[in-house]
């Protein structure tokens, strides 16, 4: 197993390098902006995935990004707060809301939980729409200031004015988020989550406090969604109650379904794949919902393990081929 670990780490480093070098090869600022939003969606799909591993399906995930985005934007515009403190407040707020709402709703199972999260998502949208100050009411907030520059003595001041700056900032936070999600799931807690999803009464009968773990997954995921919401507002410089709503929540679910659920890599593949695909089909943008709907159904019917499963099969075939070539030559 040790060798597999090394392969994974090596592959991750290569992928990370590719992402770090993207702005060197792509100079078009619009495209950098698109890739930044794809990164934000990666974090949203991956955090949603964590909730799914405990067997709870939520249609309200985008609303926690809304909470994060609004708290950050509101604090900065209404109170002139610096962006890093606003970010902290945004993430903590998302976590607290998740804690309270999770405690109430996670007792509910199956389809009823889905409906409850759908309702909560709409409820959050309405709440933010009610406050002119500091959240701008139904129109939201525009012309959001960029993240506050970081001045470390002895180093040049780090500004966040260009799309490339925002891209790297987003990348850093997304990578941190993914590492957290990966470590959480790969450890014993991941097994607890899976046990709750596969047989929750059995899990309880061996002493697992299923509410505690479901809430843990939910709060961590929603805090990361809040973070993603903040990153989103840095790039779009705009937030309104409608921007991150039900259609977006559904989109993140499609990313997980298409990408695969077996590990955090699944939703990453799904978000990147669908993000790029969406840009490719831009000329026929009106058909996007239909096409994505078809992709969701096709994924569920024909390739349940998603893009991740397909890649794993390809990898296995390559290994088999390599072994056969080696044995034929010895």
């Amino acid at each position: 197993m040790k060798q597999e670990q090394l392969y994974k780490i090596a592959l991750s480093i290569v992928v990370l390098l590719v992402f770090i070098l993207i702005p060197v090869f792509i100079r078009n600022m619009y495209q950098i902006g698109v890739i930044t939003i794809i990164m934000v969606n990666v974090l949203l799909a991956a955090s949603l995935w964590l909730i799914l591993t405990t067997g709870q399906v939520t249609l309200g995930h985008a609303s926690f990004a809304t909470i994060g985005g609004f708290m950050s934007a509101g604090m900065m515009t209404a109170y002139g707060m610096n962006s890093w403190l606003s970010l902290l407040i945004a993430v903590v707020t998302a976590g607290l809301v998740a804690l309270v709402l999770g405690y109430i709703t996670l007792r509910i199972k199956g389809i009823y939980f889905v409906i409850a999260t759908l309702a909560l998502g709409e409820f959050i949208k309405i709440v933010f729409g009610m406050w002119e100050h500091p959240f701008g009411g139904l129109a939201g907030l525009i012309d959001l200031p960029p993240p506050t520059p970081i001045a470390i003595p002895g180093f040049p001041v780090i500004q966040f004015t260009t799309n490339t700056d925002l891209y790297y900032l987003t990348l850093v936070f997304v990578v941190i988020g993914i590492i957290i999600l990966y470590r959480l799931y790969a450890g014993p807690i991941g097994r607890v989550f899976r046990s709750i999803r596969q047989a929750d009464e059995l899990a309880e009968s061996v002493g697992i406090n299923i509410m505690r773990y479901k809430i843990l997954a939910f709060v961590v995921a929603c805090m990361l969604a809040g973070l993603a919401g903040v990153l989103y507002t840095y790039s779009t410089k705009y937030i309104s109650p409608r921007v991150l709503g039900l259609p977006q929540s559904v989109y993140y679910l499609i990313c997980v379904a298409v990408g695969g659920e077996a590990s955090v890599v699944g939703p990453i593949l799904g978000a990147i794949g669908l993000g790029v695909f969406a840009e490719v089909i831009r000329p026929v943008k009106e058909f996007e919902p239909i096409i994505f709907g078809f992709l969701l159904i096709a994924a569920r019917l024909f390739f349940k393990s998603g893009l991740l499963g397909i890649l794993q099969k390809i990898w296995q075939l390559c290994v088999q081929l390599k072994n056969r070539v080696i044995s034929e030559h010895t």
Partner: protein, 257 residues
């Protein structure tokens, strides 16, 4: 002090009386059987003891402590484990992982040490894998250790269910119809295993329809019918009890006891 005591345990589901003023006590080290026709209230009684249902009235006392109304995971933590009538397993996990989940309470999982794996957590994991392997070997599942639970034949799945309960290192094990779906050979094997774990000090409270199993393994038998206890005694006494014969056993068994 009895290990488990039920005091006038009663459960109504709406107008249906499932359990009626059930009194019983089980001493440490015993193997006690609970029999009766379908619908007699045996599984309901188990569900109340383990914390899945609250009784309408009455008490459950475990190790001298009133555990009535505590929830499932708390009671499991006190040393009371249960295997299920239906085959509940972690279907997408291997046999080994299934048992490891059973060791949850012993594994000191925390949020922070899940993020950062230290040498002490790895050491503890290793110990748990060893303990899990012991249980797997004890049940005779060594050769399917890495098989997914959903791929196992039915008899092995039932054994795995017992293994998961054993992993909690309980003092009292409630077994709800462990031999369902097992052929005579598998049942014989199970019988031996039950006696073995009892010899190691585990008290067992067993529900079964297999009368031969009950008579062979239990030192005391309690008979339930329509939620009420109609008889209690040694297997021989129960076999010859006319009320039990009428309600459940049938006269054919009486001659075979």
């Amino acid at each position: 002090m009895p290990l488990l005591e039920l005091q006038k345990l009663t459960k109504y589901f709406g107008g249906l009386r499932a359990v009626n003023e059930l009194d019983l006590s089980i001493e440490k080290g015993q193997i006690v059987g609970l029999i009766g026709p379908n619908g007699a209230g045996k599984t309901t009684a188990f569900n109340i003891i383990t914390g899945k249902f609250r009784p309408t009235s009455g008490k459950v006392i475990f190790k001298g402590k009133d555990i009535t109304g505590l929830n499932l995971h708390t009671i499991a933590g006190l040393g009371l484990a249960r295997s299920f009538q239906q085959t509940f397993l972690f279907s997408e996990m291997t046999v080994l992982d299934n048992i490891l989940v059973g060791f949850h309470l012993k594994s000191k999982i925390g949020f922070w040490n899940a993020l950062v794996s230290t040498s002490s957590t790895r050491h503890l994991q290793g110990q748990l894998v060893e303990k899990a392997t012991e249980i797997i070997q004890f049940l005779g599942l060594e050769h399917v250790k890495y098989e997914l639970a959903r791929n196992l034949p039915h008899g092995y799945q039932r054994l795995l269910g017992i293994g998961i309960a054993l992993a909690t290192e309980p003092e009292l094990l409630l077994m709800d119809e462990p031999s369902t779906g097992m052929n005579p050979e598998e049942t014989e094997h199970l019988l031996g295993k039950i006696k073995e774990i009892n010899k190691k000090g585990l008290t067992i409270f067993l529900v079964a329809h297999n009368v031969r199993l009950i008579m062979n393994v239990c030192e005391r038998v309690i008979v339930l019918n329509f939620g009420s206890k109609i008889a209690e005694g040694t297997p021989e006494e129960i076999c010859t009890n006319s009320e039990v014969i009428n309600a459940y056993l049938g006269s054919g068994y009486a001659s075979r006891c």
